[in-house]
């Protein structure tokens, strides 16, 4: 029994280390290596920032920056070329949206089809807040006057 306990303890201690190891291996395996001739670190940073905001249409749960898909690699090359031509992030995004729709942007723009997305949560929060406020008011008011009857409470 003691030995079993010790083994379990050891396993618990080692598990995070093993996990860290596999996570590292996975990231090493999945971060694609494109050899793009950046002129300087600022350009590289701009490229990473921009492609990190864009969705890989094929894999969808990965950004263009992180994806290893052929499609993502091709678009990274395209985006790099457009940057070299002096196009702004805005122009590059517009170019992509014209071809792949706003779905390619991780950050959805405010438009008719995204109103629910943008304002739905605040609206629900507001309604919920009002309901809670009303319930609390109702609950506290009688509590001031009636001291007995804590009977049923939901």
């Amino acid at each position: 029994m003691k030995r079993l306990f010790a083994a379990l303890l050891l396993a618990c201690l080692l598990a995070p280390a093993a996990q860290a190891l596999t996570v590292q291996q996975v990231t090493q395996a999945t971060v694609p290596i494109d050899v793009l001739p950046f002129r300087n670190d600022a350009e590289r940073a701009r490229f990473r920032h921009l492609t990190g905001q864009l969705r890989c249409m094929v894999c969808q749960d990965e950004s263009l920056l992180a994806s290893n898909a052929d499609f993502a690699r091709q678009l990274r090359g395209q985006i790099f070329a457009m940057m070299q031509q002096g196009q702004s992030d805005k122009e590059i995004k517009a170019w992509l949206v014209a071809r792949y729709s706003t779905f390619i942007l991780y950050d959805p723009p405010l438009q008719a089809s995204t109103i629910a997305l943008w304002f739905g949560t605040p609206a629900i929060l507001l309604i919920g807040g009002l309901v809670v406020a009303v319930l609390l008011r109702r609950r506290t008011r009688p509590a001031d006057t009636i001291t007995e009857d804590p009977g049923e409470d939901w």
Partner: protein, 188 residues
Amino acid sequence: MNESAGKPVARLVPLIAFAALVAFFVVGLVWNQTHDARFVPSPLINKPAPAFNLPRLENPTQLVSKANLLGQPYLLNVFASWCFACAEEHPTLMAYRDRFGIPLIGYDYKDAPADARGWLQKHGDPYHEVITDQSGETALDFGIYGAPETYLIDAQGIIRYKHIGPLTPAVIAKDIEPRIRELKQAGA
């Protein structure tokens, strides 16, 4: 809350809220069942197809441009020899090639021409013409991000419809044949 015991409506509020929540989730579930998130609607619908100038598969020295294909509606079917779903779609294309009533143009996507020729020889060639985009550069302008994809392009070169994923007899009957009829009537 003894108070609410006297008000049946107030007692129903949590139930109604719960029912609304359930309805919300059911709609979401049904939507997910019937809509595939992989199939993103193209922003190019009802816009001119991008200009292209691509080599023919049969004779790569000859180029086919967008202008060459104007004058009548056609279907542009994106395929590749490496594409598994294209093989799945292939029998449908063979069966419908002559039933569409308009040319079926193959768009060989990111494929070695020799592989594509071998694939068509092995399975049969449903296309009236095959153009090749080995680099996938023109495909960017079309917003192609996989295969198979199928575009319906009208006589003026406007993209009228796009289907992502394999064509099936059901899709053809529901989404493609009525549109072809419409285009033909408009053209006549």
